[in-house]
């Protein structure tokens, strides 16, 4: 047998042992094996040496190997900066997350984003805090003009009890009166939705005033407002403060400044008279039939004689002219009292309606005459038109001496001319 033959048969025997021969080849080999003992021995040798390899043990499974291999992989990837994340496995003791630089940019971006977010959040919180502060101060903002005049909780409560005057004012000034503010901050959202542009304008003004207050004044007013909001008659008291502020807005500032020197009792009296005066003036448009009748009877029986006495005017002057003269001459607008005013007014009061009586009693003495004149002849109050009408009744030759450029002079001259007997106006 040549070396090539031996190699060939050995290869076939090996392939036979490895199961790599086709069935035909395997059959052929098996046939030769039957007849050839040396071939059988060679097959046995080949199998024996091969089977010895079975004695080599498989390396036992080693968890430590797995762990150290994963660590090696992580280390290598970190060095190579390969962008691969190995999440944690059941090898809890192994830190599998490598420190990678490619996280740097996302981290920076996240940090910047976070800072921007924090900034926005802070801005929002500051703004929200400001809005919340405004909402919390809403009562004070709405009432601050009134508080500047009222200045005292007890004064405010006392004013709220002057229900007749406050009722008329509330009805008359309802368009300008900010509705009662709910105590709950959450209900204030709906409350704000119900406000008119005029209300918002007043609230803006109140907020500006609030911002200009010093800390002590703010604390004082806020404390008073808090007390009012907690009182059982909160709505009525807040209305009274607000209405008082509106009434005082129509007065000259000099009168408001006088309030600073007053004690609470004096201030209440003063504010009450102003409130009643304003309400009484509005009442002129809603006099009842009872009031009108009483006023007419009283005018003829008491008022006109009293004016004639007071002015020492000649009798027979028309009532309308007389009132105008009184108005101009005595400056009723700035307060005027008849010599025997108390008796004259006392003759009227019992015949007035309850409202009329209360209003007239609430008005200060100096203003009662102005109220009565308004009630008696609201359309006869001196006006430019009435002056011109009076002027027309002056004889033409007498008019030339009148300087129309000076209203005060004109009034005096008209009054003087009309007082002369030959210039008395003719009755219509």
């Amino acid at each position: 047998m040549t070396a090539q033959d031996l190699d060939a048969i050995t290869e076939q025997l090996t392939a036979y042992l490895d199961g790599e021969l086709s069935s035909e080849e395997a059959t052929a080999i098996e046939a030769r094996l039957v007849d050839d003992e040396s071939l059988r021995l060679r097959l046995a040798d080949l199998r024996k040496s091969y089977d010895l390899l079975d004695e080599l043990p498989e390396t036992p499974f080693d968890q430590r190997f797995t762990r150290s291999t994963l660590e090696l992989v992580v280390k290598e990837l970190s060095n190579s900066r390969e962008s691969v994340t190995l999440p944690s496995s059941n090898l809890s003791a192994v830190e599998l997350k490598p420190q990678r630089d490619w996280w740097a940019w996302p981290r920076i971006l996240l940090t910047i984003g976070g800072l921007v977010l924090i900034g926005l959040l802070l801005g929002f919180l500051i703004r929200f805090n400001q809005i919340r502060q405004d909402i919390r101060d809403l009562g004070l903002i709405a009432n601050l003009p009134g508080w500047m005049d009222v200045k005292d909780v007890n004064v405010a409560i006392s004013l709220s009890k002057e229900t007749e005057a406050m009722g008329i004012l509330k009805e008359q000034l309802k368009e300008r009166l900010v509705p009662p503010i709910p105590s709950s901050i959450w209900q204030r959202k709906n409350w704000m939705d119900s406000l008119s542009p005029l209300h918002f304008a007043k609230l803006d003004s109140g907020r500006e005033m609030l911002r200009k207050l010093d800390r002590d004044s703010y604390n004082r007013f806020a404390s008073m407002e808090a007390k009012i909001e907690q009182s059982p008659d909160s709505d009525a008291v807040q209305d009274a403060i607000h209405l008082t502020g509106l009434v005082m807005d129509s007065l000259p500032n000099t009168k408001r400044l006088d309030l600073d020197a007053m004690n609470p009792e004096q201030r209440f009296q003063f504010l009450k008279e102003q409130v009643y005066l304003s309400a009484a003036m509005y009442y002129a448009a809603r006099l009842t039939a009872l009031d009108t009748k009483a006023l007419d009877e009283w005018e003829d029986a008491y008022f006109q004689p009293a004016i004639v006495r007071d002015l020492q005017s000649p009798r027979g002057i028309e009532k309308r002219t007389l009132l105008s003269m009184l108005w101009f001459r005595r400056s009723v607008e700035n307060g005027y009292e008849l010599v025997d005013q108390e008796d004259v007014v006392a003759a009227l009061l019992p015949n007035l309606s309850k409202s009329g009586r209360e209003l007239l009693e609430g008005v200060g003495r100096r203003d009662q005459l102005g109220v009565l004149i308004t009630w008696l002849a609201p359309n006869r109050v001196a006006s430019s038109k009435s002056i011109i009408e009076e002027y027309d009744r002056i004889p033409r030759e007498a008019r030339e001496r009148i300087d129309l450029n000076d209203p005060q002079q004109t009034r005096r001259q008209v009054e003087e001319i009309l007082r002369r007997p030959n210039n008395r106006p003719k009755r219509p």
Partner: protein
């Protein structure tokens, strides 16, 4: 492996757990001690992970894995050629179990090794013989024996033809027999370094018997 391609660490961990034993045994056929085999095995798995994106599912994973292992082992042998750590013939380089085997082999006749050495020592002796085979014979033999690969799969792994694998395996069995016969007969250790180049020589000796 497909999950490993998606960077699934747990899948990779499972892969290591599943193949670590066989890979280390495979590498033990190339190096002289378990620690070296372990180091090389780690290198194999590292390369597997690095090359995971190149893996094509059309190829059998073990074929791909052992191709990497074979490359790692071959490179290691070439890098350490001068050290001749794997040479059985060098008395000067004897150490550890090899010295033990040799001592046993040269012991007095009253202490004949065939009956006295235990199973683990026999395994060590067989491993020495395996290491003494040439690289390609050794690889083909181990893939056939331990991985139950067909000739075709071995051919795919080693980049050879089926006929070449058939020839390699035939010569590997003959050479293994030649290396182990003296030991199995009278306890002599294998003393010949067998590279693939030596195969013909060995085969000639075998034929002469």
């Amino acid at each position: 492996m497909l999950r490993v391609q998606e960077d699934d660490a747990q899948a990779f961990e499972m892969l290591i757990n599943r193949h670590q034993g066989k890979i280390q045994r495979f590498l033990l056929g190339w190096v002289s001690n378990a620690q070296q085999a372990e180091d090389l095995a780690q290198d194999v798995f590292l390369r597997v992970f690095k090359a995971r994106k190149n893996y094509l599912p059309t190829a059998k994973f073990t074929t791909w894995l052992y191709r990497i292992a074979n490359n790692v082992a071959s490179n290691h042998i070439r890098d350490n050629a001068n050290r001749r750590e794997y040479q059985l013939s060098s008395r000067e380089s004897q150490s550890g179990s090899r010295a033990l085997i040799e001592n046993i082999a040269f012991a007095p006749s009253g202490f004949q090794p065939t009956r006295q050495i235990d199973k683990s020592e026999r395994a060590t002796m067989i491993m020495q013989a395996l290491q003494a085979l040439g690289e390609r014979q050794k690889t083909a033999l181990m893939l056939s024996k331990f991985e139950n690969m067909s000739y075709q799969e071995i051919a795919d792994t080693m980049g050879l033809s089926v006929q070449a694998v058939k020839s390699l395996l035939s010569r590997a069995r003959v050479n293994l027999k030649t290396l182990l016969d003296p030991y199995m007969a009278d306890g002599q250790i294998p003393t010949t370094i067998l590279a693939d180049d030596d195969i013909d020589t060995l085969s000639e000796q075998d034929k002469g018997k």
